[in-house]
């Protein structure tokens, strides 16, 4: 596709992004095929862009889009007997009409997106493809945009999406909301898919930009949709709260020159207070009731940072206590590393360093630059500058983004002149 056409195409997609996810979900429920749904949804949106400017926007735009897309799908199936046979659509169409979930009060279409979330994040799909499918089908991004999000060439992403869709179709991964018995087992991959979009956007694993804000915002948008669809699930509240409480610090995270600013040194006046308030309210939801889940606990830790006036007045004992809970829920060396950093704030750098040294042989931390970087910072506070320099150097051999490299280099320079 030539560049200009691609640019126009993606702005069209952007306008209808929210509508597209709903439309796709309704079409998948009716026709049971992601490819067909994608095709006719795009055609309906194109038709809307042709007709609405001259004929006016219809009273029920969602219903207009769905009717247009359905007509196209039925036409397609009349022409393509093989596809029609596979989908057994002529029989199914009539039987399905009355299965539709109730429409939202403020919308003219029933919301089928929850089932689509569970299809896109099905555990039978590769973990890396779940986030991509969720971005493509629920957030409504184009394949090129999804490719950019995950820093892979568009052709590679297109191939991955084709393969994942083929698995959904041929292995018959269902399009349905799991029942109450299954939900606790199935929700984590959905939350993980959304959170992977957020972390990818927030701290790009490599490349020149530290943050890709629009991707983090896409993840938050997905989190809000999920929160509306599953209001009783506290981990959904926890996930959305966590994302908001981290994203609230976005403006303070980079300096005027684009350099990384760590939590300790951030200008807290630049944090987004309304976003923090919204996040804190969600933490209350996530932590009320039975034992909290990992997203709720991580959100609570983020809230303690966001509510503190500065580093010194942060409630470190409470932060450490929450890391203890988190370590019980997800025993990972990365959590242990963060806990050690919090212990260093509560009990002093020596205590933190002792905990970090216990993790030295963990193979899962090999290649993880925050480990040597955290050691370096504590060694420096203890005045052990040569060792700190060595630790900064080993972090520098591992680090991904340019701003992180620049930050570590500046620290190394300071420590070698101290």
């Amino acid at each position: 596709m030539p560049g200009e056409a691609a640019a126009v195409g993606s702005s069209v997609e952007a306008v209808f992004r929210e509508e597209r996810g709903r439309l796709l979900a309704s079409l998948v429920r009716r026709f049971g095929d992601l490819d067909l749904a994608e095709e006719v949804a795009s055609e309906a949106i194109e038709a809307a862009l042709t007709h609405w400017p001259t004929d006016g926007v219809p009273g029920r735009p969602g219903a207009w889009l769905l009717t247009t897309a359905r007509r196209r799908a039925v036409d397609r199936l009349r022409r393509d007997r093989v596809l029609a046979t596979r989908l057994a659509v002529l029989r199914a169409e009539a039987e399905r009409a009355d299965h539709a979930p109730p429409a939202d009060a403020d919308r003219d279409l029933p919301d089928d997106r929850l089932a689509l979330f569970f299809t896109c994040a099905h555990p039978a799909l590769a973990a890396q493809d779940r986030g991509a499918l969720t971005l493509r089908f629920l957030a409504g991004l184009t394949t090129t945009e999804v490719a950019r999000a995950f820093l892979v060439p568009p052709a590679t992403m297109a191939q991955r999406l084709v393969r994942a869709k083929r698995k959904i179709r041929d292995a018959r991964i269902p399009f349905r909301v799991p029942g109450p018995d299954e939900l606790p087992g199935r929700l984590p991959t959905v939350l993980q898919a959304v959170y992977s979009v957020f972390t990818e956007g927030y701290a790009a694993s490599s490349g020149p930009d530290l943050q890709r804000i629009d991707l983090a915002e896409e993840a938050i948008r997905l989190g809000r949709i999920l929160r509306r669809l599953l209001p009783a699930e506290r981990e959904v509240a926890g996930l959305l709260g966590l994302m908001l409480l981290v994203h609230a610090r976005r403006d303070a995270r980079t300096g005027p020159d684009g350099a990384l600013v760590l939590l300790d040194d951030q200008d807290r006046g630049r944090w987004d207070r309304p976003m923090i308030e919204e996040g804190c309210a969600l933490v209350v939801v996530a932590l009320t009731g039975r034992a909290p889940g990992p997203y709720g606990v991580q959100a609570a830790i983020a809230a303690l940072h966001d509510e503190a006036a500065d580093v010194a007045s942060t409630d470190w004992p409470q932060v450490v206590a929450l890391y203890d809970v988190l370590l019980g829920l997800m025993p990972s060396p990365v959590v242990a590393l963060n806990r050690a950093a919090a212990v260093a704030m509560r009990d002093g750098p020596e205590a933190g360093l002792a905990l970090l040294d216990e993790l030295a042989d963990d193979p899962r931390l090999r290649g993880h630059h925050p480990y040597p970087a955290a050691r370096a910072a504590l060694l420096r506070r203890l005045g052990r500058y040569d060792e700190a320099a060595a630790a900064y150097r080993s972090a520098l051999t591992l680090v991904g983004t340019e701003p992180e490299r620049a930050y570590l280099l500046s620290q190394l320079e300071e420590v070698t002149t101290e």
């Binding site: 989908l87 199914a92 799991p178 029942g179």
Partner: protein, 131 residues
């Protein structure tokens, strides 16, 4: 009711093959410790639910022979599986269920899924489906 939402699509069921795999260590199959009675019970459950199509346990490793035909048509016959084989197929069942979730549920209920065992779930390729 196992699932919360009734399937919307009135599509024909899919057949899946459940392949019961055991790891091989130093040329020996590692037994996962389930009993003959466990398999009998599982077999009965599948038949009672009306999902079972066919299936067999396989004879043990000592009876396995591998055949390979070279580019010039030469047949090479070797005792046992390939030396590098890390997993051995111990048996299979073919079941007829609505979707992957149902197939995965049957796989998880099998005695072959516990301990060192694992179950591969593969949809059967239906070529030329007619309604």
């Amino acid at each position: 009711m196992l699932y919360g939402d009734t399937p919307h699509r009135e599509e024909p069921n899919v057949k899946y093959m459940l392949l019961f795999m055991s790891p091989m260590v130093d040329g020996e199959v590692v037994d996962n410790g389930c009993s003959f009675e466990d398999w009998i019970r599982y077999d009965r459950e599948m038949k009672d639910a009306g999902v079972w199509v066919s299936g067999h346990p396989l004879q043990d490793l000592t009876t396995c022979t591998t055949v390979q035909v070279g580019p010039d048509g030469d047949r090479t016959i070797t005792d046992g599986p390939f030396a590098e084989t890390r997993e051995l197929l111990g048996g299979y069942d073919i079941i007829d269920v609505p979707d992957l979730d149902a197939a995965l549920d049957w796989a998880a209920r099998s005695p072959g899924a516990v301990g060192t065992g694992s179950v591969q779930v593969r949809p059967i390729a239906e070529i030329d489906v007619q309604v």
